[in-house]
Amino acid sequence: MLFTELRFVPFFLLVFAVHWALRRDAGRKLWLLLASYAFYAAWDGRFLALILASTLIDYGVALRLQQPNVRRRLWVSVSLVANLGLLAVFKYFNFFLDSAADLLGLLGFQADLPTLRIILPVGISFYTFQTLSYTLDVYFERLRPTRNLLDVALFVAFFPQLVAGPIVRASDFLPQLRTPRRIASIAFRPALLLFLSGYIKKACISDQLAPWVDSYFQDPASFDAAAAWLATIFYAVQIYCDFSGYSDMAIACAALLGYSIPLNFDFPYFATDITDFWRRWHMSLSRWLRDYLYIPLGGNRGSLLFTYRNLALTMLLGGLWHGASWNFVLWGALHGLALIVHREWTRRVDLPPGLRSALRPFGMAATFLFVCLCWIFFRAADFERAWIVVRAFVLFDGAGEQTFQASLASIPVVLAALHACARTGLWRRGMLALPPWAFAMVLGCVLAVAQTFTSPGLKPFIYFQF
């Protein structure tokens, strides 16, 4: 089930109504858990077993870790092996096997390794990281384990963020489950506004750009260099609006049910350098990778080379987290390399504050173009097509005859202006300042217009595949 689907409306209204009608907190949590499982089962009920397995394993391991004289490393390994094992089987099995076969082929051996026909369970990367955060927080003694299985199960399966994040950490969410929620404390208007803005990002922007992006990346060799630029920039906008739109809607739904989920995006394309970009893009993943991978690897507590190795490894694995393909690994590697170069640059070059401010627009443009360049590997179906796009994007080497209408170039300009406007928070403040009836009327009108952009058929969110 998608947030932009019509059937989500009755689903959410029912969940919302029953949730707040129930008096006891345990009843509400049980209801939310059942609703979350139903939400997931609307896609494929068979894979609920995986969520349940992850939940039970981490619930048990966390309790074990609290007991005295227990082999903590062994128990945390159980959780890591089980969770990452499930992820490896369902997401990476064929990728590892294909890569092994290719490697053997390069060495002159002909290997015919079996591949499995496995469906990738929606959201497995998200909830695996989420549930791992619980065991790891308990292991690192940042969090006391809970004896309440219902709390752990709801933390893992909470439907607003179950399938595509934001990745919520146990230390942020479990304390909320211990405190009874009150409808009076909900900021309805900001939540509704956030949902609407997420809906507009997804339906009116991302889905509208998708056909051009798809047609270009299907056969980039048949397009010219101008089309490569437009399609790449369109994809940058598409993936941002798609993913941040989903996150906005998830945060809003959670807020309406009384729970707080961390922000996932903070205007990333306004980042002035690549480090700043990663503080603003998919923030919940960046923080997860920092706290559970980069720092345990040693972080920056060693030599410079050691720090850069950790940074590179973190980004490589971050790339692989997105998908079982070398394209994603390369995408992560490029970002890792850029982070290392930027860190080295800031270490060596100390610009005077005035010059630093003057160079900000340049830094913003350079960061955006670099991020766009990396998106090419993220979007292209294979290396061959990615190189064609990169050549056209970097060297203006596009020999194809097809092109896009010149007027399409105005779209990124308009969107950038709207984005800059949104960043000022003017329209949000303006909306929130309206009297309730006017706020409701504007909301109704905007929603009615926005849904004329929503395809009656389904257009899944890009990040569902991860």
Binding site: R7, A440, M441, G444, Q451
Partner: protein, 343 residues
Amino acid sequence: MGAFLLAYVSTCGVIGRAVDSYPESRLADPSVARLKVKQFSRTKDAYDLVFVGSSRFYRQLSPAIFDRTVQSNGGPRLRSFNLGLAGMRHHEIVRTVRWVLEENPARLKWIVIEPLEIHEEFESENMSTHRGVNWHTPRVTWEVWRNILRQGRGPGENLTALTAHLHSAALRAGNFGMAQSWALSWRGLDRQPNPRMDGFFPLDMQSDLVDEEWEKEIQRSLRKREELENFRRSFFETPDEGDPDSIWLEAFALLADEVRSRGVEPVFLVVPPTWEKWAGVVEAGRTGKLSPMFTYHDLRQYPDFYRFENLFNLGHLNSKGSRILTARFAREFGEYLSGAKDG
């Protein structure tokens, strides 16, 4: 909440009216359905007669031949248009007939309707297509609901079917996905129909419109002749007699009344090739419960239509068969009109 609903419903209504001013924008571009609706809505005042039915109408009834033959057989000089579409079923036929009447074509005198049986089974993949959504007006959706509830299926099946149709109706009422489609029409950027188009495309002359591989497969199986024999056998296995289904009869009788109330005459037409005898439908025509009705599907009466050389596949005639069928219907329709005129 009230202010939100008021604003939402009013805006949907205003947008819906704008969309309906270009009726083809409710259909996906590019598609034959969109082209036909566009052509008809732009030239509606030129037609005296409209055909509304499934692909057996779309692929087998040539307005050009029909108009010529009616006139040469003593009938009036008239001009017809084929609004038949592949996969059109009962409810879409009803909606299309109503849409034609709403368009209020100045000269329209007859609507030829294919009295297909009512199947409430639905293909979920079609329910959220532009075309599947388009026919889910509140009235048609209500009729679908009523039929579903009267068919005596289990509560689970009923609920699935009811919600599926409600979903499509809500998509239509909310004008989902209309923005681009409407903009194309408004700016005149979508495909323009051929001004001479009369809505008829025999299958063997429109290979680009069908899945060639699939058609080749059908042709191959048809060539085996054996398949054709099975087809004939299946025809003979269906009952010779039977009462018309009451839900079906009521639906078409009401539709016929609706058409008549707008000063237009409904004409029912059953065309070949079919796998069964349509005993109930024939009975309704014979007893005058649904009339006038013309039937050409009976293998015993019209063996020509089941000859290999006149078939494109097991469900459709080729262009030769279509010419024969259209001419035959036109002659009898011309005679019917002369008879009616003579009293």
